[in-house]
Symmetry: C2
Subunit: 152 residues, 2 copies
DNA sequence: TCCATATATGTGTATATGCACCTATTGCCA
DNA sequence: TGGCAATAGGTGCATATACACATATATGGA
């Protein structure tokens, strides 16, 4: 029964929840001029000093080309720089600018408010547990489907 | 310490996990020509027979205008119809077409495979629990921030 | 040394998502 | 009944995300 029961679709559940949480964070971050995703990128860049596009994309569980696109507005606004690595000119290093550091600091209070508001509604302890679960999901390896006849 | 610790940002955790799960579902759904979100919309429409834009958006925890945009390719491909309600011409009713029903049925196996693959990696019981948690998050009410002085 | 291959990234296109602003109906009330 | 507020949607713009395809650089073996 209930072959089409939406409540059983894992992806739909993830998307609905993420949309709801995004709405909260983006609303509070709006005055700072940063979106949630943009702030996450800046935070990753700040923590790694300088990483390549590929490294950054992997850390964000984001498609490499999506990251390239997402970096555009950040470069345009002078928050990050993207320059070829001098040892391997195929790679590019993403670095936070002074302005990027400032913007990140400037958005800190709004982010804190979003965190507090979420955790007031959902529970701080529950939030911490859920974050761990979500990080686990983000790192999941979904193997290829079982072939009809295994070799050997 | 760790004021910028990314692992503590709830939104980032949600986004990473959702991207990962989306990648799995979209990969398996690709042959059917449907994206995960598109399938979710068709499922909701199928279950409600005919709902308005607003009702559908609320059910999907999706901004009204985002849904309008998302419906465009589905209309173009003849999977749904959107027509003014005859009793209240402000409202529009979204309905599944025969072709939409077929497409939904056609994508059923791929969706089932995605569900199975996710649950093989994450655990079926854990997935069921997580879905409940995510639905709860999607329905959260984040009140306005506490004013400095409560009335009375 | 030269070229095939592997690695790292960018571009164009399509969908996903939400905000600001605009239009069309409906309801209500003076 | 005339008109304004409330309700339901749409459009344009900007960002978010990923795939197919194209480009540039590095590497290793013949």
């Amino acid at each position: 029964m209930a072959r089409l029961d939406t409540t059983r679709c894992n992806l739909t559940a993830f998307r609905k929840a993420t949309r709801r949480v995004s709405q909260l964070y983006d609303e509070l971050l709006a005055p700072s001029g940063l979106r949630g995703t943009q702030r996450a990128i800046l935070v990753h860049v700040a923590r790694s000093q300088s990483s390549t596009i590929g490294e950054l994309a992997a850390a964000l569980v984001l498609d490499r080309t999506a990251l390239t696109h997402n970096l555009k507005p950040l470069q345009r606004d002078g928050l990050v720089t993207v320059a070829a690595d001098k040892d391997d000119r195929r790679s590019k290093r993403v670095r936070l600018t002074k302005r990027g550091e400032s913007k990140l600091a400037e958005s800190q209070d709004a982010w804190r408010q979003a965190q507090d508001r979420f955790e007031a509604a959902f529970g701080a302890r529950q939030a911490a547990e859920l974050r761990q679960t979500l990080e686990l999901v983000a790192a999941l390896e979904f193997g290829e489907p079982m072939p009809a006849a295994p070799p050997g």
